[in-house]
């Protein structure tokens, strides 16, 4: 019991550190990628290639003056960014980072909590994340913040329906809601993307909307709303909001690669004899997929312009929801034919 508890604490600390470091360096990567796509150099003053830039930014956040506007609701104003950050950090608990590592005769699972409702847990935590933005925007008592928060929450809840529907076809194929089970069934090259390309497209679009990323970044579109829901925020509270956005990108990349791109599975993994080697390579493969998706998020941001709000709502409700329902019906029909006539 103590050993197992120790394993879990160790794993939690590692996952924490990794997600924070990746989120930190995503901020640098974003600026470097945007510079690359726009034929600029990007930050290169702090450290070689600007590698110390995220550290400098983080330190600066700590030393900046923390303003709580006199009209703001103080408790809600502090609660908003805290909820955003906590929910962003909580989702990583159910992601299977690898299979098992065996040392000194014990098998250590590389997943913090293999609960049987993994996907529902992710949805539940993501839904609480809406409160973070809504409470922050309401508590600021600023018109821009309130409008940004309204836009953010109604956009996030709209896309959550299509997101939930797009996962159902995966759950039907797998017969389980546990992320560990879903990933282990995509052994080798048997990835879900080959069976559910439409589901992936819907899920990917919704993930962009849930993270408030371009082309769905209306909650904070600077041309209309100054900074959106975090207009009044400064210092580390602003830092928590911005940081949670990057952690969310990391987590959604991880979930996308786990559910559709096989997670830690890679081709020809059965030909490697040592199971420990397989799981270590698996972790690296998983992170390679995650980093590709993080790059994809940035690539899209600097390529596609922002939607108008009515277009955004139209896409979410009128196209993605019927498409996801059709995907469920088609998946069901194909599975029925397969199990009735070819088994």
């Amino acid at each position: 019991m103590e050993i197992l508890l120790f394993d879990k604490i160790f794993l939690i600390v590692i996952v924490f550190a990794v997600s924070l470091v990746i989120a930190l360096y995503s901020t640098l990567a974003e600026r470097k990628v945007s510079a690359f796509l726009q034929d600029r150099i990007g930050p290169n003053r702090a450290g070689t290639f600007g590698l110390l830039q995220p550290v400098a930014d983080g330190v600066k956040f700590f030393f900046k003056e923390d303003i709580i506007p006199s009209h703001a609701d103080k408790a809600l104003y502090i609660l908003g960014p805290s909820i955003s950050m906590i929910t962003a950090l909580m989702t990583s608990a159910v992601i299977p980072w690898g299979t098992y590592i065996t040392f000194s005769g014990r098998q250590v699972a590389m997943q913090i909590a293999d609960i049987n409702i993994g996907i529902l847990y992710v949805f539940a935590v993501v839904s609480i994340g809406v409160y973070g933005i809504m409470i922050g925007g309401w508590g600021s008592n600023n018109k821009f913040s309130l409008l940004g928060a309204l836009r953010a929450s109604s956009q996030m809840i709209s896309y959550e329906i299509a997101m939930g529907l797009s996962i159902i076809s995966i759950v039907m194929m797998t017969g389980s809601m546990s992320l560990g089970e879903i990933v282990s069934q995509q052994h080798g090259m048997d990835w879900n993307i080959f069976y559910q390309p439409v589901g992936f497209l819907i899920f990917c679009t919704c993930a962009f909307a849930e993270c408030n990323r371009t082309p769905f970044d209306l909650p904070e579109c600077e041309a209309e709303l100054v900074g959106g829901y975090h207009t009044e925020y400064s210092s580390m509270k602003l830092g928590l909001y911005l940081f949670s956005e990057y952690i969310n990108i990391f987590i959604s990349s991880a979930i996308m690669s786990a559910m559709f791109f096989g997670g830690y599975n890679f081709p020809f993994m059965d030909q490697i004899a040592s199971p420990n080697l397989v799981s270590i390579i698996g972790v690296f493969v998983f992170f390679a997929k995650i980093i590709f998706f993080i790059f994809f998020f940035m690539w899209v941001r600097w390529t596609i312009p922002r939607f108008r709000y009515d277009q955004l709502m139209k896409l979410g409700w009128k196209y993605l929801i019927p498409l996801a329902l059709a995907n469920i019906v088609i998946t069901g029909t194909v599975m029925l034919i397969k199990y009735q006539f070819f088994n």
């Binding site: 003056e65 329906i161 759950v171 928590l240």
Partner: protein, 128 residues
């Protein structure tokens, strides 16, 4: 695996992760609170409204559409949740019950879809 793994509730690590996340947020907020300067003036603490003096309360009336979307979300999300238990068992349904298990779900899905068509026909989702 072994008997120790059965002793640990799978939700327990999630609780631990919550404590770590809470600790991280509290420590970072407190650190920045102790480190940063506090020079407050009235103008600085005023509501930001693009540099001009602010007008009225921010919590004014907003478009009913946002409320409508929130209500529709509650309705549809509950219906989506009902899909999950069926989807988890669908493999067994397809194997043993044949078309029966699928047709009943199609019935439920069509009621959802009729409601969806109604919402669209009532122009509840038109933002123009």
């Amino acid at each position: 695996m072994n008997e120790t793994s059965e002793m640990l509730n799978p939700y327990f690590p999630i609780g631990m992760q919550f404590m770590v996340a809470l600790g991280f947020v509290m420590i970072s907020l407190l650190t920045s609170w102790f480190l940063n300067p506090k020079i407050n003036t009235k103008n600085k603490l005023d509501v930001f409204e693009s540099g001009i003096p602010y007008v009225g309360n921010a919590r004014m009336q907003f478009s009913i559409k946002y409320f409508l979307v929130a209500t529709l979300f509650v309705l549809f999300d509950v219906e989506v949740i009902f899909f999950y238990p069926w989807a988890v068992n669908f493999k067994d349904f397809a194997r043993e019950m044949g078309i029966n298990g699928f047709l009943k779900m199609l019935l439920f899905m069509s009621t959802l879809f009729i409601g969806f068509i109604y919402v669209i026909k009532k122009k509840a989702l038109d933002w123009e």
